[in-house]
């Protein structure tokens, strides 16, 4: 049984307005959305990507594994790019997250491959307030074609879906479960 | 790392790149030292060869290699880079040779200072440990960089590196002869000896209308590009910013006016400049000045002589103006009679304002510049040129010139009478005269057409406004008391829109 905090945004002041996404208690919900996504885009940031998530793996290792196996297009926004490159994964872009979300919010953008928008934009390993800002832009300006998901452990009210302020240990299990579910 | 990523130096155990250029290897970090002050005989040399004389990309080490040299010790060093190709000529040797310094410094942990017979190198311990244990790598890097940078010129190249003291001694003597021969040829080279001058528009990225004319006896204003450099660069990249100028017909031998120079300058400055006098400061067509000239030559009408000030000179020059004041009017690709930007090296040229009398016309120099070029000043005039130390003002300059009987003094006699009338009309650069009066229906300020009572002269500049500004003022029995007067341009009614 996963114990949760009283559900306010992780940073309690980050209530932007009346529209808020869903903090999920069951990680598999997020897993299923990503699994079913037609055109997902994973954005990996530069915050706490090296935390150990069990089995001697870091958060980043797990994400690399996921990308490698499921061929999810990945954008590396920071120095994490190097890890992907070293593991022979070519990110669809190495680009600042603001530049990526600016594209996502442009209705006329055709995606990194020219095939159109991404239905789910998934952000992982990014500092809370920056994610919050990026999801805020998406919430207002891309919601018709791209929705946001966070894989980090915090409630992000501007994302469509995210975890509900999980404690570290619980999150470690959750993130492993999510990735496992997607890769199945 | 894959081959593709590490690029052309994948087989070199250390990094190679421009970012290592400023790198210093200190005594404690050094594996071995080559050349430098402790070693008398050392050299580097580039030689032009015939195609069949060279085995392409061969590196030969003569003497012990890095692994045989004792850690922390100093050894002699010499290097010969031999090149061949259809466009390779003797003249290119010096230009290519100068790049050894730069290319060597690209190598991580390999420091190279100075040039020719003066080289000083150090290899860092950490680079040695990474596997940089043979001088062959040095040769390989040089070969690849030369071939890459001069791909249109160098077809074959081989490198020989010497550490054997005996061999070095023999080659050192030969090298010294070659340097001397080259220098004397370059020193003796006259503008009259060549058919081609060179132009430079590198500065146009910042100063879009400036064109530099570079001749054997007139280096670029920044002092960075001489005739040989420009020539090499134009050969390597004919479409680049250094280009050949056919001298064409000589219109004025004394002032240095050539049809070819005029044509090219007109073309490259988009018609801004159509005549250039190379060897004079006293011409409305003197050479234009960019923004990075090392010094300014300025005419001093009070003494009928030329002063020179470099950009490091602080304070006022003899004419009461600072370098920056004069530079503001001299620069920007304009022709300003009596003011011209020059390189310090140009002071060593026989063509230094030759139309105006050359050194015999120079009356004032900052003392540190005078020291630098002392040996190039003709002996009979050397002590007659003032500096800020003995002539900080025009009056003191006059007195000084008189006391030493500077050649300009003999020109004074006739002029002295006129001078009184002119009072203190010190020559101020006039690069930016305002010329838009004709676009204004009313000219205020100089009294033209307006009977002004009182002392006011309305500032012309403040009433400007560029083309098309219209003014109409009607007063009837008016008494106006204003607390403040602000003049703003009235916008033209029709604005051109594109």
């Amino acid at each position: 049984m996963i114990k949760i905090f009283k559900i306010k945004p992780w940073r309690p002041t980050h209530i932007n307005g009346p529209i808020a996404g869903t903090p999920v208690y069951k990680p598999e919900i997020i897993g299923k959305i990503i699994k079913k996504a037609k055109r997902p885009l994973l954005i990996v940031g530069g915050y706490e990507y090296d935390v150990d998530i069990g089995n001697g793996k870091t958060y980043l290792d797990l994400l690399v594994e996921l990308v490698k196996k499921k061929k999810i297009p990945v954008v590396a926004t920071t120095e994490v790019a190097k890890t992907f490159v070293e593991k022979d994964i070519k990110p669809v872009a190495i680009m600042s997250v603001s530049n990526v979300i600016h594209r996502v919010c442009d209705e006329n953008w055709k995606g990194f491959d020219g095939k159109g928008h991404y239905d789910w934009v998934i952000i992982a390993a990014m500092v809370y307030y920056l994610q919050s800002q990026m999801f805020s832009a998406m919430k207002h300006f891309s919601y018709k074609w791209s929705k946001g998901i966070s894989l980090d452990r915090y409630f992000q009210p501007n994302a469509s879906f995210c975890l509900a302020n999980f404690k570290v240990e619980e999150w470690k299990k959750a993130i492993n479960d999510i990735v496992k579910l997607i890769m199945e | 790392m894959s081959d593709e990523e590490s690029g052309m130096f994948s087989d070199i155990p250390v990094d190679v790149g421009l970012i290592y250029e400023g790198e210093r290897v200190r005594g404690k970090q050094m594996q071995v030292e080559l050349g430098g002050g402790k070693i008398k005989e050392k050299f580097e040399l580039v030689l032009a060869r015939e195609m069949n004389e060279i085995e392409d990309e061969k590196v030969t080490i003569v003497g012990p290699d890095l692994k045989d040299l004792e850690e922390g010790k100093t050894y002699p060093i010499g290097i010969i880079v031999e090149v061949a190709g259809r466009l390779v000529e003797k003249d290119l040797e010096a230009v290519l040779e100068r790049r050894i310094h730069e290319f060597t410094n690209y190598i991580e942990g390999l420091m190279h200072l100075n040039q020719r017979y003066d080289i000083w190198m150090r290899l860092s311990k950490s680079s040695y440990k990474k596997g940089f244990d043979t001088l062959e790598y040095w040769g390989k890097v040089l070969i690849r960089l030369y071939k890459s940078e001069f791909s249109k010129v160098i077809e074959k190249i081989q490198v020989t590196i010497f550490t054997d003291p005996k061999e070095i001694k023999t080659w050192y003597e030969k090298a010294m002869e070659i340097y001397e021969a080259r220098d004397s040829r370059a020193r003796g080279m006259k503008d009259e000896d060549v058919d081609l001058f060179y132009g430079c528009t590198l500065c146009q990225s910042f100063a879009p209308t400036h064109v530099c004319t570079i001749t054997p006896e007139r280096i670029s204003l920044c002092g960075a590009i001489n005739w040989f450099d420009a020539r090499a660069a134009s050969k390597v990249d004919p479409k680049g910013p250094n280009f050949a100028i056919e001298k064409g017909e000589c219109i004025d031998e004394i002032k240095g006016e050539f049809t070819g120079v005029n044509e090219i300058t007109k073309k490259k400055s988009l018609g801004e400049i159509d005549r250039v006098h190379l060897y004079t400061i006293l011409s409305p067509y003197n050479h234009t000045s960019c923004g990075c000239f090392e010094a300014i030559a300025f005419y001093i009408p009070e003494v009928a002589g030329i002063g020179i000030v470099d950009r490091n000179f602080k304070g006022e020059t003899v004419n009461g103006l600072r370098f920056s004041t004069m530079a503001n009017s001299t620069g920007g690709g304009k022709q300003v009679e009596g003011f011209v930007g020059i390189a310090i090296e140009y002071l060593r040229s026989p063509k230094l304002f030759s139309a105006d009398g050359g050194w015999n016309k120079i009356v004032w120099l900052p003392s540190n510049i005078k020291e630098r070029v002392e040996n190039d000043i003709p002996e009979d005039i050397r002590d007659k040129i003032a500096t800020e130390k003995n002539a900080p003002t025009i009056d003191e300059l006059k007195a000084f010139l008189k006391s030493v009987d500077h050649p300009v003094v003999k020109d004074w006699v006739e002029e002295e009478e006129e001078e009184e009338e002119e009072e203190e009309a010190m020559m101020v650069p006039q690069g930016q005269q305002i010329t838009y009066q004709q676009t204004m229906p009313v000219q205020m300020g100089t009294g033209v057409g307006i009977p002004l009572v009182g002392q006011l002269q309305l500032p012309l500049g403040a009433l400007g406004g560029g083309a098309g500004a219209q003014w109409k003022i009607t007063f009837k029995n008016a008494k106006i008391i204003a607390d403040e007067m602000v003049i703003k341009r009235i916008k033209p009614a029709k604005k051109k829109k594109k």
Binding site: G45, K82, H102 | I19, C222, G240, N328, L456, N477
Partner: protein, 781 residues
């Protein structure tokens, strides 16, 4: 010289346009100095929409990207209005417009701050020294006020001349602010154009402020050898009375120094400061000390060291009196903009005030007269010192264990922390006497105190973090070069050739505040990276201090290791916040000195020149205030791109280029008039980066400019590619977009890039003479 006033009479006068009889004109004040060398340009003293054309050009290429912080508008009583997604407010306002409006308001606040500061200083200095103080910037600076010359269109000779500039700045701030009433401007892009305009005036305000203080107080005038001064928490001599100065307006601090010197007391009192008052006081008195940036307020105050605190304006903690009270120190306030609810004591008896302060009958006094305030401060600190019980406002180690036990592990402190620091974990560790985790937080902690208010059990978390570090304080002794002021004309000329020849790849300007995501070290390391690469690095304000609080491998601070000259590998501390105008000023000087572009009233052309040619990038890694918003937006208006840290995303707006939209990336070739496609250079105008590594790569990339000649381009690409490879492990995949001719290709990456060019079907182009303004296309003669 300007004539002060004039009278002239006409009996009769007749021209085609003027008919006059018996006219007498008295003019009390004539326009400032005639400026005959340059004709007036098209936009002197630009009004609200005069530069709109240029700003729209910028905004077309760099469209705003909005990330709202709040989805409501709460400014009128119709509200709150929900503006989310496509909703309109009661006045019709949309969310993007509201964001732009908010940015405009922020820029107005920033510009007002500098202009107000400037106005105060000018007024004060005219009162003190008279209106005729000449603007003499020394022998190597002729172009004394590049921003004022360009924007206002005047060439000031005496400080009084600058009033015109401030008058105009005030007018434009007023008009801009007026446009934010309801959402009347309606189009976001026009609010952005106004934010840009008001921020141009911000640079005017800053330039005036710094110019007048430089000439009136005789601060260093572009001196690359300005002395090194003490910096850090550990530099205060505890055996002397300590007067702490906080704020941004140096007028009070200078009165103190003068008073100490007049009375022979100089050297008997420690003067140390926080923020720009500290920076500026060391430009006057090289013996004054700098404690640190804004984030050091609680650190120094709670240590109990200050006996008296003098505050002026801007970045001052609003709870400073409360905090001072807790350490039994007194506060003196003098600035009209920060009265702290205190009664006006300007006309009260000086000695009585001192007496009451010393006796503890008053905690703080407000004296609007800087001279009097300074005397009171000095007298109070002298009397307080021997009798004051040094009272720290920090728990002892022993107390910390007990306090920590009150922690219920609710995580409220961490959730309140701007940097999401693991405070809860650290407090819990302290329960068993392990303070190492607290200590580990110190360098990233902003000492803002939010965690303390968030704690339901009243645990002073910030205090505990500060306490855990106390043993290290004595080592916090650093050096910083006193602010040198503007870049000299002679330096601009000297760097010209190396900039052209590519020996200097760019100018990195570290400007800004203390809201750092991970402490100051990473800012200093970034500076060192670019110094090693022989870029020119300049710094101002908080970042100037951040660079001092760091030692290189050889144990030297950056200021000790790198020369203070504006040249390759030089590190210039330009000065305080208001000195930022010298950075835009340096760019303007290049246009004037190299191309002899007229500056006078010629903003548009100069900004176009800078955007296309000068590889300067501003980095404000800890951007926090509204002042930083207007400073950065002003740089953007001038054509200088800026990078802010991750917190900067909360400014709501970034100007980002869409590199996939090739049509946005063209210029006109001024030689031929031809429309010319260029690479995305610079790619963004203002952007938030997430990590310092990312910012490092981006800064190198943003130095690329359309006019680069091949040498400059090759060198800029080399550094960018090298950093990209080192940090991201791979060659950037858009390098090909920046290659115009083969000679652009960096030597050492030639084979790789040639291969890429082949794949992309690249064809050689030529290098244009770029402009974004069709009117600047040359007509062939």
């Amino acid at each position: 010289m300007a004539k002060e006033s004039a009278t002239f009479k006409f009996d009769s006068l007749s021209t085609p346009n003027i008919k006059v009889k018996g006219l007498q004109i008295n003019i009390r004040e004539l326009p400032v100095e005639e400026w005959t060398e340059e004709p007036q340009g098209p936009h002197p003293m630009p009004e609200l929409v005069d530069l709109r054309n240029w700003f729209h050009i910028l905004l077309r290429r760099y469209p705003p990207f909005y990330a709202p912080v709040c989805d409501y508008c709460c400014l009128c009583t119709f509200g709150k209005c929900d503006l989310s997604r496509e909703k309109h407010g009661a006045c019709g306002l949309t969310l993007p417009t509201q964001q732009a409006r908010f940015v405009t308001i922020a820029c107005c606040i920033g510009a007002s701050c500098h202009c107000g500061h400037s106005r105060h200083l000018l007024h004060h200095l005219i009162e003190k020294f008279g209106r005729n103080v000449p603007i003499d910037m020394g022998t190597e600076i002729e172009l004394e006020a590049p921003v004022v010359r360009t924007v206002i269109g005047i060439k000031p000779r005496i400080i009084k001349d600058l009033e015109v500039a401030l008058n105009q700045t005030e007018t434009e701030i007023m008009h801009t602010l007026a446009s934010t009433h309801t959402g009347q401007e309606s189009a976001a892009i026009d609010y952005e154009a106004k934010a840009l305009l008001v921020s141009v005036y911000d640079h005017v305000g800053m330039e005036v402020a710094d110019l007048v203080q430089i000439v009136a107080y005789n601060f260093p005038k572009g001196d690359e050898d300005a002395p090194l001064v003490d910096l850090g928490l550990g530099v205060i001599d505890k055996d002397k009375p300590f007067l702490l100065l906080i704020g941004h307006n140096v007028a009070g601090a200078i009165e103190i120094v003068d008073y100490l010197k007049e009375t022979g007391k100089y050297g008997t009192i420690e003067l140390g400061g926080i923020c720009c008052t500290a920076l500026d006081s060391t430009r006057y008195d090289f013996g004054a000390k700098i404690i640190g940036p804004i984030t050091y307020q609680l650190r120094i105050v709670r240590s109990g060291l200050p006996d008296v605190i003098m505050v002026d304006e801007q970045c001052i903690r609003t709870d400073i009196i409360e905090e001072a009270k807790a350490i039994n120190a007194r506060v003196i306030a003098w600035n009209e903009k920060a009265c702290h609810g205190l009664p006006d004591s300007t006309h009260e008896d000086e000695d009585k005030l001192v007496e009451e302060l010393v006796a503890g009958k008053r905690d703080a006094v407000l004296i609007f007269d800087t001279e009097k305030a300074s005397r009171v401060a000095v007298k109070t600190v002298e009397k307080m010192f021997p009798i004051r019980k040094k009272q720290r406002n920090l728990p002892t180690d022993k107390e910390m264990i007990e306090i920590a036990k009150k922690c219920s592990g609710c995580f409220n402190c961490q959730r309140a922390c701007p940097n999401n620091l693991y405070t809860t974990e650290a407090v819990i560790a302290a329960q068993s006497g392990d303070f190492t985790k607290l200590e580990g937080l110190y360098e990233s902690c902003l000492a803002c105190g939010r965690c303390e208010d968030a704690c339901p059990n009243g645990i002073p978390v910030t205090g505990m973090i500060i306490q855990s570090w106390q043993k290290n304080v004595r080592n916090e002794k650093w050096k910083i070069r006193a602010g040198r002021g503007p870049v000299k004309d002679t330096e601009i000329r000297a760097v010209g050739a190396p900039l052209v020849l590519g020996e200097i790849p760019g100018i990195i300007a570290l400007i800004g505040c203390g809201n750092l995501p991970n402490g100051n070290m990473e800012v200093a390391r970034l500076a060192e990276e670019f110094l090693k690469r022989r870029y020119i690095v300049v710094a101002t304000g908080c970042h100037a201090m951040d660079l001092g609080r760091y030692r290189t491998e050889d144990g030297l601070t950056l200021y000790e290791k790198y020369p203070g000259v504006f040249d390759a590998g030089g590190l210039c501390n330009i000065g305080s916040c208001v000195s930022n105008a010298h950075i835009s000023g340096a760019c303007i000087k290049v246009a004037s000195i190299f191309a002899r572009r007229n500056l006078r009233g010629n903003f548009e052309e100069i900004a176009d020149y800078i955007l296309n040619r000068i590889g300067a990038v501003g980095i404000s890694w800890g951007a926090m205030s509204q002042k930083a918003a207007s400073i950065a937006t002003g740089f953007n208006a001038f054509g200088v791109p800026a990078i802010v840290g991750p917190h900067g995303s909360k400014y709501r707006r970034q100007y980002l280029g869409k590199t996939y939209n090739e049509d946005a990336w063209f210029i006109h070739d001024a030689r031929t008039g031809e429309k010319f496609k260029i690479g995305p250079a610079p790619e963004n105008l203002i952007m938030s980066c997430e990590t310092i590594d990312e910012a490092t790569v981006m800064a190198a990339k943003l130095c690329i400019r359309p006019a680069d000649n091949f040498k400059g381009r090759a060198v800029k690409l080399t550094h960018w590619i090298d950093l990209h490879k080192k940090i991201y492990g791979t060659m950037p995949d858009d390098v090909w977009k920046f290659i115009r001719v083969e000679a652009d290709i960096p030597l050492t990456f030639k084979s790789e890039i040639m291969k890429m060019l082949k794949e992309k079907g690249w064809k050689e182009k030529s290098i244009p003479d770029p402009t974004n303004l069709p009117r600047l296309i040359k007509k062939k003669k």
